[in-house]
């Protein structure tokens, strides 16, 4: 990994979002700085689902939040539909955010338990003065129908009366209320049971197709990512290891870290259990990341070069970019 570079940016007019050289750091003590995201760039094209995968603490969520300026990044630009959000005055940023909505990991705690479903979905519509009372009520009914909930049964109930899967449906309805053009989903299904997980993934796919959404999908689950994405970014300690379309990434990973991640996914078939070399240890602290390639301390192929020089993203196959001095053939 974890390297820098912009070779993977497609520089097309279709890019809804282009992030360049984004850096987010948190000061946790007088001289301790957590380098959560370091000089990271990516773009998302209209109608695409970009997935971001990586272990806990690699900066996935920080990255997504920095896109929404929650909080604003330390440096770098976030260009959404031609406007650099980092330069926008507060009021313009508020209105820009209506077109980018977020869905959070924990569906129950992301809904206010004191508000009814009607109030939850009405709140954004009311704040932005979208339509009359009657128009808003009709809109709320449509949104609930879209996400597979029966409006008459749910409108006057509160979040604690629903299961995790139903709460996630309510979150999706709320996120869609303002007609966003981009949806950022931060581990939307990791708190759900497998049978419910499939329902929500299919629903997100349907909503994306119906409303022509562009999606950033954050997950630690490689199988889930494969099912939903058009392009995958593999992150490690705040940097990009590899960017590729899912078919390429899963069959021919070019980065040692990507391969290690794929090898650790349990396979639900007792006849196909391979015992490959496991990745040893755990990621180093983001307060004091290794020099050069940040993955080198756990990489079997690391050489002196990896400690000295940070690898840059380079194209190794059509659409596949890897930041590694010794990519896998």
């Amino acid at each position: 990994m974890a390297g820098s570079g912009t070779a993977h940016l497609r520089n097309t007019v279709d890019a809804v979002l282009t992030v360049r050289d984004l850096t987010v750091e948190f000061r946790v003590a007088k001289d301790k700085i957590v380098k959560a995201v370091s000089g990271l760039s990516f773009d998302v094209i209209r109608g695409e689902t970009l997935a971001i995968v990586g272990e806990s603490g690699c900066g996935k969520t920080t990255l997504a939040r920095a896109v929404l300026q929650l909080p604003p990044p330390n440096s770098g630009e976030v260009v959404f539909e031609g406007t650099d959000l980092t330069l926008l005055p507060k009021e313009n940023l508020r209105s820009a955010r209506t077109s980018m909505q977020m869905i959070f990991q924990d569906p129950i705690s992301s809904l206010d338990p004191r508000m009814t479903v009607h109030q939850l979905i009405d709140e954004p519509l009311e704040i932005w003065g979208r339509g009359t009372r009657a128009e808003r009520d009709e809109r709320i009914n449509n949104l609930l129908n879209n996400v597979g909930l029966e409006p008459d049964l749910v409108l006057n109930r509160r979040s604690y009366e629903f299961s995790g899967g139903q709460c996630q449906r309510i979150s999706i309805a709320r996120a869609l209320a303002l007609d966003p053009r981009m949806l950022i989903c931060d581990e939307p299904v990791s708190a759900l049971d497998v049978s419910i997980q499939a329902q929500i993934l299919n629903l997100l796919q349907d909503m994306k197709d119906r409303f022509g959404l562009t999606m950033i999908f954050i997950s630690h689950d490689l199988a889930v990512v494969k099912a939903v994405s058009n392009r995958v970014i593999v992150m490690y300690l705040g940097k990009i290891c590899e960017v590729a379309p899912p078919e390429t990434l899963y069959t021919k990973p070019a980065h040692h870290y990507t391969r290690a991640l794929l090898n650790s996914v349990p396979i639900a078939d007792p006849t196909r259990q391979t015992r490959t070399e496991l990745l040893q240890g755990e990621p180093p602290s983001p307060m004091n990341p290794p020099s050069g390639c940040r993955f080198r301390t756990r990489c079997a192929a690391a050489t002196a070069l990896c400690a000295e020089q940070e690898p840059q993203l380079q194209e190794v196959a059509p659409g596949q970019f890897v930041a590694c001095h010794h990519p896998l053939a």
Partner: protein, 325 residues
């Protein structure tokens, strides 16, 4: 093959304001000595309650238990609390899902790890600490000396789970209950912990009950699998047989609904419509009937009994897959 743990007709009911909640209904399960048995099912299917009840950990005025549990020749259900307690550590041990809340946050690792050794094996403080260090090395914790003096918050999730495993195996238990031991961990760390459990099981000749919702984890780490749904065991078979030749429509649906890493990207996932039935009102027929794609009239009316194939494959279905009636 003798069974180390044998649970017969176990039912657990909780009294709740909404009425009696049937968490576990008439469960029979045998854990053969030296084997690893997986228990899979969705949240609320009764996996954890069954394990805790088997260990005698469920007590309280709102719990109604019935059935028998025999562990290694002792009938736990007929023993006093104190007698059951004496089996913990050297007989049975448990590791829990969340390693942060299972460890005491205000005590050092060394003191938590040596406690069992001193109480159960009567070791001196110095001996227990020395053995604790060996145990940490056994679960592959680097720099064990320093970890003994650490508090849980100073360790990562994976390290904490290793400490939990060290505590559980400290007195050489015959049976280890692992309740979702890797659910809170990253996939790379999960692979490390599962490998560690496999190796320890072999070295210590330990049996294991592995509770998980992940069929992938079950496939690579168990000899037998019990599938639970709505408080019942709905299918029980050797792991290879279960995956190759499943009988229960629920097992099939569960397996189909997981996204798989070798599936084509962008394919729609198969879903199990609906959700688990209300545990205070299970209804008359098969619990899975409202969600089953092969459902017939009989399924709604009559509760299926457990059936057994000649090879020991057990299932609870009126119209099992692959069986001509």
């Amino acid at each position: 093959m003798s069974s180390l743990l044998s649970v017969k007709n176990m039912s657990i009911n909780f009294d709740t304001p909404r009425g009696s909640l049937e968490a576990v209904r008439g469960v029979d399960i045998e854990i053969p000595a030296g084997m690893s048995v997986g228990v899979v099912g969705e949240s609320g299917s009764g996996k954890t309650v069954m394990c805790r009840a088997a260990m005698g950990l469920l007590q309280g005025s709102n719990v109604k238990r019935s059935g028998t549990v025999v562990f290694d020749g002792h009938e736990l259900t007929a023993m006093s609390k104190e007698e059951v307690r004496n089996l913990f550590g050297s007989g049975m041990a448990m590791i829990f899902q969340d390693p942060m809340t299972a460890l005491n946050p205000v005590r050092r690792i060394g003191s938590q790890l040596s406690e069992g050794l001193r109480v159960r094996l009567g070791m001196s403080k110095a001996d227990a600490l020395a053995r604790s260090k060996e145990l940490l090395e056994l679960v592959r914790i680097p720099n064990a000396e320093a970890v003994l003096k650490s508090f849980p918050y100073q360790l990562s999730g994976g390290m904490r789970q290793r400490v939990m495993i060290a505590i559980a195996i400290a007195c050489n238990p015959k049976l280890l209950f692992a309740d979702e031991p890797t659910t809170a961990l990253d996939v790379t760390v999960q692979a490390q912990i599962l490998q560690l459990l496999r190796e320890l099981r072999e070295d210590l000749k330990m049996s294991m009950v592995l509770v998980t919702h992940d069929l992938g984890v079950v496939a690579g780490n168990t000899d037998y699998v019990a599938v639970m749904y709505a408080g019942e065991i709905v299918e029980y078979a050797p792991t290879t047989k279960l995956f190759a030749d499943m009988r229960m429509p629920y097992t099939e649906a569960l397996l189909e609904s997981i996204p798989k890493i070798d599936h084509k990207s962008g394919t729609r996932l198969a879903v199990i419509a609906g959700r688990l039935p209300d545990p205070t009102d299970r209804g008359a027929g098969c619990s899975f009937a409202p969600r089953c794609k092969y459902v017939q009239e009989k399924c709604h009316k009559e509760h299926p009994e457990l059936k057994q194939d000649p090879d020991g494959h057990v299932y609870r279905c009126w119209f099992p897959i692959g069986v001509s009636l």
